[in-house]
Point group: D2
Chain length 307, copies 4
């Protein structure tokens, strides 16, 4: 069976799960998306791209921005970022503050939880917010090979208005000396990176660079140092799917990062880049049909890295 017909079938089969999920509403602007949207794009090492379903719908990166901004921070400052944020997975929900405090260091456990990602954002260098967000945008455009990508200002404004919990986390980090600069600036940058709008095609392109050890398959140019690509993929595997990460590693078996917009970026090393959209979420905040699609895909195309 061709990949095209495979993913068409997977889309069809997986739609049934949408009814059991719900669109995220805690950021009001996210609540407006159609929960029936479902799409998948796949890129391979040979340069092919395969699309099925709603692959032209735009959605915000949300937490999918976390591994990308981590890559930028690593390229800017090297591994010293890990003086401020750990690498350890956690079974906690994505927005927990509990763990911050029970650990003596006050260091967020990893860069994939909000506390860790806000910390990472706070280390991005730049004269002002504009300069910093432009660096992030530049990297997203470079990795996705899409210069038209931009920020959805309505989503940004919506996050800015309602992000009280992230604000609480950020002030807690400030109090612990983890955030060194201005808290409002760090939060604004974090909300901006979450509001970058992409399609599944963009995600598949970004994922392909990671799948290909950090090297662009067309130009053969290295965009990301190999060790940083590995590090980010390992963090995606251990912490990328909120408190479903362990189960996802067991059943799907490749690095992925989800966002509450319903997007998932998946990486099958040396094989495929994958982008998924499906705004209906399960209770843990992952695209409910999206996960089903990735389970099936891993199974049929033998993508489990543990096998």
């Amino acid at each position: 069976m061709s990949i095209n017909s495979l993913i068409e079938d997977i889309i069809k089969e997986s739609k049934i799960h949408i009814r059991n999920g719900n669109v995220a509403t805690y950021i009001p602007e996210l609540g407006k998306i159609d929960k029936n949207i479902l799409g998948i794009s796949i890129t391979d090492i040979q340069g092919n791209i395969y699309n099925a379903g709603n692959t032209d719908v735009k959605f915000s990166l949300q937490s999918i921005s976390k591994p990308i901004v981590l890559l930028l921070a690593l390229m800017e400052n090297g591994e010293e970022i890990f003086n401020k944020v750990g690498m350890e997975p956690t079974g906690d929900p994505f927005n927990s503050m509990l763990r911050l405090e029970t650990f003596d260091t006050g260091k967020p456990l990893n860069p994939m939880i909000n506390a860790g990602a806000i910390t990472v954002a706070s280390t991005i260098k730049g004269a002002n917010l504009m300069e910093k967000i432009n660096k992030i945008l530049y990297l997203v455009r470079l990795l996705s090979n899409n210069d038209t990508i931009k920020i959805n200002d309505k989503v940004f404004q919506s996050e800015l208005r309602t992000g009280h919990r992230n604000r609480a986390i950020a002030y807690f980090l400030k109090d612990n000396g983890i955030i060194e600069g201005n808290v409002d600036d760090a939060l604004a940058l974090y909300f901006k990176q979450c509001s970058i709008e992409v399609t599944t095609k963009d995600l598949a392109n970004i994922a392909l660079v990671l799948a290909n050890d950090g090297v662009d398959i067309k130009s053969n140019r290295r965009l990301i140092p190999s060790n940083y690509a590995n590090l980010v993929k390992s963090l995606m595997l251990t912490c990328g799917m909120y408190d479903h990460s362990g189960e996802f590693a067991s059943t799907v078996g490749f690095p992925a990062k989800s966002g509450v917009s319903g997007g998932i970026l998946g990486v099958a090393p040396r094989k495929l880049g994958i982008g998924v959209i499906g705004p209906a979420l399960d209770v843990k905040g992952n695209s409910i049909a999206g996960i089903k699609m990735l389970e099936k895909l891993s199974d049929v195309l033998d993508l489990n890295i543990f096998k």
Copy 2:
């Protein structure tokens, strides 16, 4: 460079780290081992075995028994074990009780923490303790291809006498309805499985079966169903090295499980099985020189599964 000379070099280079580690003393019998011991055995898919350092020293499995007994539980009862224990990693130290209670379910987060492993042990079927431990011993002998493996009774007695924290965990699990049978029996079985004595050669053989998708390379006989092998390898990667698991996944990048005796079982899928001993532990309870050896090995032999 041949693998033999590579691992001889690695042993030499890594000895320097021993001074920064300490032998575990909370189980008195473990405190008697020589902290300068260091050994590594490697098996490959082609049937070769390579040894360097103290590869004939016997040591108890301790937490390395956890993935093995989980395999037995899966083969006995299938995935219904996950009704009683989760799959999610945790940044907690190995013997924490805190997380048990903060989660509504009372379910241990995963089978690699003590609470999870005691739960798994409590589900092993058998008329009595002897029958149950014999099943475990049979599986260890089968996977290691070594019929002489047995339990170190001194270690077992030492654990039995001093395992107050595990006893606390077990009664907590009983109170929550997670352990259904007798608590003392579950603990005795758990202490027995921890007291099984092996060498690095045994570990490398066991690891090779996992590396080869559950199939014995000599007989070509399937010893473990493929999906259970994958599942256990993914749990080793996300939770196998205590609260260093995330960092180990980032820097070494393959599934491994350590024990407080200083052993580490490492699996490079489709490539190698690895057994390590080095009783000097770091603050997180992992062999301090053992981890250095695996970092080097992964780097030189390109074993990172995320690459």
Copy 3:
């Protein structure tokens, strides 16, 4: 209005609340009591005793034994008991383990939570369990002026069979070095002290000694040193009513200690001793009608010590 008719009225008025409560069932033997039982006994400094409702029903002390055994421990060893257990109240439910671990010391927060009371029991001196429980019984009989008080063996056996959570707590305390001797012995003594059977009259007599600064009103003999009596009364006020203690102090305003059998011992310093039984409990484990009776009593007789 006379006290007799006042408490008759209070019994009548308060019965309506019984329907909103439930008998404790986690100790099976406790589940057999009639939830409609309601009784109150009051003793005063002048030597009068007033009874209304079911004041001859026998019930086990349960947590009401905690302040009494603390008095014994203080009289045996002085305030060094507070090297092993704190004096700080907690908003936690009565059987929480969480707080044990989040505090660095491993010391239970106070002697009114189970962890603290088991610790206190473990310090009682004696050649064997019999000698220790006899000391406790002797003190209960002395304070209540009732030599017929004894242990309900069915309740004791029931606690022994089902007390898994207390067993977990005790092994945790052993692991932390808080319990020095044998865990099973400490638990047996604790379960025995909880199983001592009394009536509301006994409670009112015990309470009167505390109300009278530790001095028996009839013989004028000092049974408890004044400072220990004060200390125990202050701990009853801050921690005596589980996680309703703060609200009880605000609305009733005198020291009291409840048990899951439905008993409450109340002390109005320099005024009254009070004993209550009402096995229908609220969600926090206190007698639902009993609390209403004490609120009314405090109001009418002006017993609030803060006023």
Copy 4:
């Protein structure tokens, strides 16, 4: 011995403890006070006032403002404030966030911890910050019978600049729906109430109103309803001295509230009002010499309400 010579002696004896304490530095402006200051004022029901030591030194109320603003909230809105904040004590340090989250409700445990006090401040009604703080100032002036009391703007600015942890707490409360209005406004009011400047004489006067059931002894005018006075005194006893509250209740035995400026307001019901200043704090944040003075005073003047 007269009260005057008693408190002169107590001041002399207690100075020795100052060396073991330290001035609070987390609010930079507080760090500038002389740690050797020590003073005590006592008012009695007969209208006498006794002073010893530095009773004219001005210091900011800090947490001593908490019971006063709670009284205002109660007089404005009645007990419905307890829909937003609990009454239960906690053994946690004063600025903990942990407990906020482990309780399902998201409600702060009591009005004496920062989270609870910020919540109480957020409910004070008024057209703007000025109107609200004027209400608080009016009540402080009324209770202390001192119209010259005002806010120390340097302290206020210092708190505003450095109060990241309180800001974190406030946004967390906002996220949980506990704070309904603007977070910055609630924080500004809270920081203002903490910055109100008083002397020990003012504290003794305020305390005397509480000691006298809410009635001004000179005018015989009721300033606070009796039940609100009782309620606040019981909360001071169970939660007023941070995580030393339980021990303070056991050793001193009357309601008190301390602040990190080194002030303590103490209430001996029907007897005395007490004001203390001693900026050298113990590790729990209470005036180290101040506590010693109150222990002695309680002992000599028989002020323990449990006796």
